[in-house]
C-alpha cells in the first residue's frame, strides 16, 4: 500500500522521524482478533528504523494461518501515516515466533479477557473460576491461535491460547 494515499488520511508530508515516537505508535497497535493484546504484548516487533526518510518496521508473523497479520501490516502503515510518517513493513521469519515472546503483561491481559494464556496444557486453569483440569473440546478454535476448552467445574467454555 502507498502510505501517501490512504483513505481518510490524506497526503502525508514527511517530517523528521522521531524513532521513539514511531515505536510508541506501533507498539500500541492492537491485534484485530484479540484486541486486548498490542503488538508490544505479542512480542512480534523485531526492529523499527529510519531508512531514506521512512520508518521501516520489521515484524515476525505469528502462526502461518493467522489472517490478522495482513490487517496488522495495514494498521502499522495507517497509524504511522496519521503520525505523518511514511512507513514500510517487512516480515522476518527467522527465528520463528513463539508464544514465549508474549510478555508477562500480555499473559495477564489474556487471562483477564477470558482466554487461558499459553502455558503447558496440564497447567491450564479456568479463566472464570480458577479451577484446574478443564476438558479439551477441540484442538482447533475460533482463531488459528486458540483451542477450545470447557471448565469441568463451572461449565464455562473458553479459548486456550495454544503454546507454540
Amino acid at each position: 500500500m502507498d502510505a501517501t494515499q490512504l483513505p481518510g488520511v490524506g497526503m502525508v508530508n514527511p517530517v523528521a522521524i522521531d524513532v521513539d515516537r514511531a515505536r510508541a505508535v506501533v507498539s500500541a497497535i492492537v491485534d484485530p482478533e484479540i484486541p486486548v493484546l498490542t503488538i508490544a504484548d505479542l512480542g512480534i516487533l523485531r526492529s523499527l528504523e529510519e531508512e531514506d526518510g521512512r520508518v521501516v518496521v520489521t515484524i515476525t508473523p505469528t502462526y502461518s494461518g493467522c489472517p490478522a497479520m495482513g490487517q496488522i501490516t495495514e494498521d502499522v502503515v495507517t497509524a504511522l501515516a496519521r503520525a505523518d510518517y511514511q512507513a514500510e513493513v517487512r516480515m522476518r521469519h527467522d527465528p520463528p515466533w513463539t508464544t514465549d515472546w508474549i510478555t508477562e503483561d500480555g499473559m495477564r491481559k489474556l487471562d483477564a479477557f477470558g482466554i487461558a494464556p499459553p502455558t503447558a496444557q496440564h497447567d491450564v486453569v479456568c479463566p472464570k473460576c480458577r479451577e484446574s483440569e478443564p476438558r479439551m473440546v477441540s484442538f482447533f478454535g475460533s482463531t488459528a491461535c486458540k483451542a477450545l476448552m470447557v471448565c469441568s467445574s463451572c461449565g464455562e467454555p473458553f479459548g486456550y491460547f495454544k503454546r507454540f
Binding site: 508473523p61 502462526y63 494461518g65 520463528p96 477441540s138
Partner: protein
Amino acid sequence: MSEYILSDAPQGTPSPDLGDHFIFLLAHADDNMVLAQRLGEWISKAPELEEDIAMGNFALDHLGVARALYTHAGEVEGKGRGEDKLAMYRSEREFMNVLLVERPNGDFAHTMVRQFLFDAYQVELWSYLSGSDDETLAGIAGRALKEATYHLRHSSAWVIRLGDGTDESNRRTQKALDRLWKYTAELFEGESERYRSAWESTVANVFDEAHMAIPEDPYQRSGGRRGFHSEHLGFLIAEMQWMQRSYPGLEW
C-alpha cells in the same frame, strides 16, 4: 518397507531442476497451496462443527506456509514475481506439487488418511529444513514444524479412531489407504529421500494401532514434481485462479 516401482512421467519435455533453490521453494509452496484448496472444500460440509473448524484451521496453516514460500521464492528468483504472480499466473503444467495433495477429498476417512500421510511427511521435512542455510526458509520451516506436529496429532488420532472403530469405519479407512498409498513414494523423490525411514516408522506405528494393512502392491505413481498431474488438478487450479485471470491485477 519393500522396494517400489515408480511410474515414468511422459518424456520429451524438460523437467524442472529441484536442485535449483527457487524451484525447490516453489514445489513446496505448491504442495501447501493445493492442499489448502482441497481442505477448504470441506468448509460447511464436515461431519461435525469441530471438524469443520479443524479443516479450516488446517487449510489456513497450509495457505500461510504457501504464501510465505511463494514470497520467498519470488525474492530468490529476483524477477519481481510476488506471491500472487506465482500462485495465480502459472498453469497446471507449471505446478510442481506432489500428486497426493491434489487427490479429491472423497469421504472424511479418505481426507484424513491423505492428511495423515502428508502431515507425517511434513513433520520430517520441516524438521530437516529448520536447519537450512537459507535463514528465511529455516524460519518458515521452524514455524511450520510446530503446526505440522499439531496437525499430525489430530490426523493420526482420527486414523486410529476410524481404523480401530466399527467394521464400516475400518473398511472405509482401509479403502482410502489402498487408494492413496501409491502416491506416497513420490514424497521422497530427490532431496527428501533422506527422511523416508522416519516417515515409514511413523505411518507403520499408526496403521498398526489402527488395525490397518499397508498395501503390498509395489506400483507407485509419480510425475507431480515435474508438472505431470492427474486430471483433477486442472479443475482445482481453474477455480482458484479464475478471478485473477478474468480480472488481471484485481485486488481486494
